[in-house]
Amino acid sequence: MSKRIWQSRYIYLLILPTIVYFAIFTYTPFYGITIAFKDFKIMSGIMHSPWVGFEHFRSMFDSEKFPELLKNTIIISLYRLVFGFPVPILFALLLNEVRHLWFKRIVQTVTYFPHFLSWVVFGGIIYNFIGPSGIINLLLVNAGLDKFNFTTNADVFRTVIVITAIMKEFGWGAIIYLAALSGIDAQLYEAAKIDGAGKMRQIWHVTLPGIRPIIALLFCLQLAGILDAGFDQIFIFLNPAVYDVGDIIDTYVYRLGLLQSQFELATAVGLFKGIIGVILIVSANNVIRRMGEKSLW
């Protein structure tokens, strides 16, 4: 073993900075998780702050808001998964069939662009469309119709969230599928054609199986983040009038943990989310492996 390590010493040396980097910036901060179990005193530091056991977890689970927050977080994440996950795949499949390179590039540029805008900017643009004095309401009024409340209407809040999230990210999300599509052997398509397969059949029997490992991998990763319903976006669109359907764990933690400086509670909630995320990713990975797909580990 030691001989093997010595033989590959340069390779190990090469990877050493990466290991050091992750050790310092990713694993060492885990120490801060202990804040969740302490009455954190800034001047005493994490080490010397007194332990309070599971008090912050109790206060999280006892909160009347918690079931609602958990429900909203999971529902919004599932909506994103169900409606948002297939869109980049479909878009990549469509784009893959485009034969005019200039058209393909224009479409790609236009659809990638929103990804590079922050949610603050993109949310502002969306507000100019759907706000009370926005373009859509202006058109409705000019058409003799009543204004529609998009922004503080609990009935449409989740729909607005899912649609705007898809609009912003579907182009960028398609990149990885396009890369996978380019790796499919062209001979398979030729063989399918010889066998009489049309476009749809080719997509069904060649393209989709070709990118299935990537789809499974990304699905697995997205499932792990089911308690991350998209803080930036929801924070921008959220309003107390839609708390019932839109307030998620992260926005609540932001208001209470950061704005009100309850760092211990914020850490406890973060730890809870992390544990759920680990359980989900391990479960999803096992399911995928048993299905015979390429798993994460």
């Binding site: 090469l14 050091v20 980097y21 009347e64 808001k65 309003n239 009038a241 208001r255 950061l258």
Partner: protein, 547 residues
């Protein structure tokens, strides 16, 4: 032979890459702290002085040894966050005061959350703005010995001590009589006027409203006659607070007040009918289309002022005449603005203004910078004595001119060179004495500088009308309930945040819904908090911050 050379080259290549990565890692992790001597940024005065005419040899704050004081300073800014280091004003200040201040700013809307996170990291600058001991977070940090005790320094530098009224210093004391916090003073009377477009009112034949009912009737007429105009909007803050002085017409002091059943028991605003009446009145106006449909919805708090300045709104709650009028006249040169006198309420209640505690934040000196505290006080002392003129007026020809009566007239911001605009000066402000907080002569000169001398007398008379009927928050802000510190924020979030925050956005929300949520809030711990406040605050008489 070839293979050996190839292997050697390969090894060398890998070693080089490895070395490069290690160097990058070390460089990336090394501190870029600008604390300490911040590499002389050229503040020696030999910088081409852009026409500075202030006394170059004026007394300075520098220590008796003449060594330049260097410290870091973090504060919020209310104006545009466009400060850039090494501006001409900053250089002149540093030269005159013999200091080198490493300034960082954070826009005030983000300040409280950002600074608390910074404080929690344990990496605070030498002088740091905070809410002070009125906030349980800072009080707790103060009690943990995070800041320098100032008692001796206040005795040593009487100009600093004299800048703040004794009554405010008393409020800053902890239970041992120690002071750690230098308050930023504000004049307690800050009327949020009800400004209106006098030209629109005149055109529609509407007399200036004197009561809430007349205001409603006026708004209704504007809505029917001027479809492109928003009848009423609000200034650059949350809608209910923008209307704090309209609230007084409902008897709402927007703060703790004695219970009707027991004058010796104070109750928070959420428990008062007057407060609810005011908030649901605004909701009703919005339902009728008389109050801006974007109130409470638009994430940009300044939308109301933008509309008013663009000539798209007829009445605005709050908003500053000195900024509204010049901007409005750019859009509509014939526009005129007037201010409604405090309105009579639905029950005949006399309106006035909600008075505020005369302190809005302030700053601490970090315990780690205790060694610099004396020099920081020397600088503050200079700014209140030898440097007082520089602090108040700035530089002749750049920030003010002298009129034929010898008065220093401020140059309006949009006429100043970029290095002398208020956004470059505000980050370098520290302590202004209470005696300057309501200086009518200075305000008159500001009006004169902005070309609005003719508006000054009117403005002053309206100020006095509002100030004549003060409404106070009875709660002593330095009294803090232990239960509130522990669970106050959480129970408010859990039970009240939705109803309080959605009165103007959920038109189906009723007073009954509010009262039901309030009951749950009381049961969850708010009642205990109210009891504790009443227990801890012995003096329940109406405060008087003005005299």
């Amino acid at each position: 032979m070839y293979q050996m050379r190839h292997r050697k080259t390969w090894k060398l290549g890998r070693l080089s890459v490895l070395l490069l990565m290690i160097v990058s890692l070390i460089a990336g992790c090394s501190s870029n702290s600008s604390n300490g001597n911040t590499g002389n940024t050229g503040n020696n005065g030999n910088n081409g002085n852009k026409g500075n005419t202030a006394d170059n040899d004026g007394g300075n704050a520098g220590s008796s040894s003449g060594k330049k004081l260097s410290f870091s300073y973090l504060r919020p800014t209310w104006g545009p966050a466009t400060y850039t280091k090494n501006g001409a004003y900053e250089k002149e200040l540093f030269k005159q005061a013999n200091v080198d201040i490493d300034v960082r700013i954070i826009p005030v809307v983000d300040y409280d959350s950002t600074i608390k996170t910074t404080a929690a990291s344990g990496d605070m600058p030498d002088a740091v703005w905070a809410t002070g001991p009125v906030d349980p977070f800072w009080k707790d940090l103060q009690d943990q010995d995070a800041f320098t005790k100032l008692n001796d320094l206040l005795d040593k530098y009487p100009a600093v001590k004299a800048a703040v009224p004794d009554g405010i210093w008393d409020k800053m004391k902890d239970d041992k009589g120690d002071i750690y916090f230098i308050p930023n003073l504000i004049y307690p009377v800050v009327p949020f006027f009800i400004n209106y477009r006098a030209d629109i009112f005149e055109k529609l034949g509407i007399a200036e409203p004197t009561s809430i009912a007349e205001l409603e009737a006026a708004l209704q007429k504007i809505k029917e006659s001027e479809p492109g105009i928003v009848p009423m909007t609000h200034g650059n803050t949350i809608p209910f607070w923008a209307g704090k002085d309209v609230a007084t017409s409902f008897g709402d002091a927007y703060g703790w007040a004695p219970s009707k059943d027991d004058p010796n028991k104070l109750l928070p605003p959420e428990m008062q009918d007057e407060h609810l009446n005011y908030m649901f009145w605004l909701q009703d106006l919005k339902k009728k289309g008389l109050f801006d449909e974007e109130a409470g919805v638009n994430p940009d708090a300044s939308f109301g002022e933008t509309k008013f300045k663009a000539g798209k709104a007829a009445v605005i709650l709050g908003g500053n005449l000195q900024s509204l009028l010049p901007e409005l006249r750019k859009a509509d040169p014939k526009a005129t603005i007037k201010t409604m006198s405090p309105l009579a309420g639905p029950d005949g209640q006399k309106g006035g203004t909600r008075v505020v505690f005369p302190q809005d934040r302030g700053f601490y000196i970090n315990k780690k910078a205790e060694g610099k505290a004396d020099q920081i006080f020397q600088f503050l002392n200079w700014s209140l004595t030898d440097g007082s003129d520089f602090r108040r007026y700035g530089i002749e020809g750049k920030t003010y001119t002298v009129d034929d009566q010898g008065r220093k007239v401020p140059i309006p911001d949009d006429e100043r060179e970029s290095d002398y605009k208020s956004s470059q000066i505000e980050p370098l402000r520290f302590l202004d004495p209470m005696s300057e907080k309501l200086d009518w002569q200075a305000i008159e000169l500001q009006f004169a500088g902005g070309g609005m001398q003719d508006q000054f007398a009117y403005y002053k008379s309206m100020f006095e009308k509002y100030a004549a009927t003060p409404y106070n928050d009875y709660k002593d802000p330095t009294v803090s309930s232990p239960t509130n510190a522990k669970i106050g924020a959480q129970i408010y979030e859990d039970y009240m945040a939705k109803v309080s925050g959605s009165i103007l956005t959920d038109m189906k929300l009723t007073k009954d819904d509010y009262i039901k949520a309030r009951q749950k809030w009381l049961d969850a711990g708010e009642q205990k908090i109210i009891d504790e406040v009443n227990e801890l605050q012995k003096d329940k008489s109406e405060p008087n911050y003005v005299d």
